[in-house]
């Protein structure tokens, strides 16, 4: 059943209303911008990575509740993790969103975001900060990341 209360759980609404780590990180060793031009969602991730470890992480931007909560939760769970752990978590999260893995395995606080699976049109929102994370860790700052396909363009 399509119940928006299941999508917009308390945790998600709370992270949207009061996003954690909503700031530019100083010093900043890695950053990347995610932009979905059709939605207008824009999220920039800032990381301070030293010895392959995320010492600090934050984000800025203007986006819908799903993308904002996703970015806020992302920064919360990745602080003080290694870059390899961050990539592994991003992969596990994406696989569970796609339904390719058991739900909830090792996701901890990210689990409420999996409800987006029932809203295919909103997958691009929840994924935007994660794709920006990937680009930031790869040092790919030249291009803005988007989770919209050309078919979404208007």
């Amino acid at each position: 059943m399509n119940d928006p209360a299941a999508l917009y759980q308390r945790v998600v609404l709370d992270h949207n209303r009061a996003p954690r780590n909503f700031r530019v990180v100083q010093p900043c060793t890695h950053h990347a911008e995610g932009l979905n031009p059709v939605c207008g969602d824009r999220i920039t991730l800032y990381l301070d990575v030293r010895n392959a470890r995320i010492e600090d992480i934050g984000f800025q931007g203007d986006a819908c509740a799903i993308a904002t909560a996703s970015a806020s939760l992302l920064t919360d769970v990745l602080r003080q993790r290694s870059a390899a752990e961050a990539r592994a978590l991003a992969r596990a999260f994406e696989q569970q969103l796609a339904g390719h893995a058991n739900e909830g395995d090792g996701l901890g606080p990210l689990q409420p975001l999996l409800r987006v699976r029932e809203y295919p049109g909103r997958l691009k929102c929840v994924l935007l900060p994660w794709r920006a994370l990937e680009a930031a860790l790869n040092g790919d700052v030249a291009h803005t990341v988007s989770t919209e396909t050309d078919a979404d363009a208007g």
């Binding site: 119940d3 999508l7 609404l13 939605c39 969602d41």
Partner: protein, 417 residues
């Protein structure tokens, strides 16, 4: 002065419940709730009469047009050309030769850009549009400007979403080659004073293209009364099939214009030395057109004409008034586009919820609206917002549906505030 006869002045009434029976798609549930379709500005649903006209064409007399001497080709050609006549009368165009069928409103605007404006455009010339235009009435001009060194000049809009005639007048110079203006804004609902804009432009001998995509489904349009040199609209927003658009162009202008696509059906004679082009409208209709689609558009024109555009206009004005009243009462809602003259489009933003979150929650209640920039990013920039939620009304919408819209927006408020 004697009082006007109320019987003469009153717009005929629309029997909405009867009208709804003509639209099979409306008889369905979405997420277990009756569908409330309020995305007519993006595209309108099709009545049985249109669906049947398209089906009958394919079942009974389909063939290519303008070429065969066999019976089916003659029947299909007659039906196709009959649709041209219907559209000409619908717009009150002086001649059927002034009606060109295109793939859509966008292609109609591009036709004017490439065939009328481009040959006349030199570096330093100007093209005048408004700040509320749809991307389809911005981008073709930008491409021409890029190619030729001409300049795109933009008439600003007020906080209410209106343009002033003084601003139009002061921006028309001796370098202005065309004015492109939408009659009704898809993002704001504003009805622009196109008749007055044409008068101002013509006083300076500048031609005017009116984008009527949102106007033709909502009000009676008379291209002679407006005085437009070109008028463009699309079939799918007028309850007709997709893939068909119309360009009305003044015959004296069309005759001076070169073709913009070459191919079959647009020539008088072809040899490798020389090709003679056909007269308008055939000159601008290269290749096999969307035959069944055009015939479907003819049925859509018959449909709205029988209901009477004045009745549709009055009905949508009532829905807009009611929706504006109910929605503006909801705390945290801000309506974008508050022009004095407005058609059935209600754009809004909410303090705590992004338009996409609004769209998702309304969808769960079966209420279909549009969330996004509505292909009018400059309008969003003007109001300092990334997007809006937009309810746009059609002839089959009801006051009860407006109440469902408002109730669903209150749910968003309860969840997010």
């Amino acid at each position: 002065m004697s009082a006007p006869d109320p019987l003469l002045r009153a717009a005929p009434r629309l029997d909405v419940e009867r009208v709804r029976e003509d639209f099979p798609i409306l008889r369905q549930q979405v997420h277990g709730k009756p569908l409330v379709y309020l995305d007519n500005g993006a595209s309108a649903q099709k009545p049985q009469q249109v669906i049947e006209a398209v089906t009958r064409c394919y079942r009974e007399y389909y063939s290519n047009i303008h070429r065969g001497i066999h019976m089916l080709s003659q029947t299909a050609t007659a039906a196709f050309e009959e649709a041209r006549g219907k559209v000409a009368r619908f717009l009150n165009a002086p001649s059927e030769k002034e009606i060109i069928f295109t793939r859509g409103c966008t292609e109609a605007i591009n036709l004017v850009a490439y065939s009328y404006v481009r040959p006349r455009l030199r570096a330093g010339d100007e093209i005048l549009i408004s700040a509320m235009e749809h991307h389809s009435n911005i981008v073709p001009w930008q491409i021409l400007c890029e190619e030729t060194g001409a300049k795109l000049v933009v008439v600003p809009i007020s906080d209410a979403g209106e343009i002033s005639l003084e601003d139009v007048e002061s921006r028309i110079t001796e370098r202005t080659r065309i004015v492109g203006i939408m009659q009704v804004s898809n993002a704001l609902g504003t009805i622009n004073p196109v008749r007055e804009i044409v008068r101002i432009a013509h006083a300076r001998s500048v031609a005017v293209l009116v984008d009527g995509a949102q106007a033709v489904p909502r009000m009676a349009v008379d291209v002679q009364d407006i005085g437009a040199d070109f008028y463009a609209f699309s079939s799918h927003k007028l309850y007709g099939p997709t893939g068909v658009g119309v360009l009305y162009g003044r015959l004296d202008l069309l005759k001076t214009m070169p073709p913009w696509q070459g191919g079959g059906d647009m020539i008088r004679s072809v040899s490798f030395e020389r090709t003679e082009f056909a007269e308008p409208p055939a000159r601008f209709e290269a290749g096999t057109p969307n035959i069944a689609g055009v015939i479907g558009l003819g049925a859509a024109v018959d449909y709205v004409t029988a209901l009477d555009l004045r009745a549709i206009e009055a009905h949508e004005a009532d829905l807009l008034r009611y929706a504006t009243e109910l929605v503006s009462e909801i705390p945290g809602v801000r309506i974008i586009g508050t022009a004095a003259e407005k058609a059935g489009v209600l754009s809004f933003v909410m303090e705590d919820a992004h338009p996409h979150d609004i769209g998702t929650i309304l969808d769960a209640d079966g209420v279909a609206i549009r969330s996004g920039h509505h292909c009018a990013q400059p309008v969003m920039q003007r109001f300092g917002i990334p997007a809006t939620a937009r309810a746009s009304f059609g002839l089959y919408n009801t006051r009860v549906e407006v109440e469902q819209l408002a109730a669903s927006i209150r749910k968003v408020r309860d969840l997010f505030a």
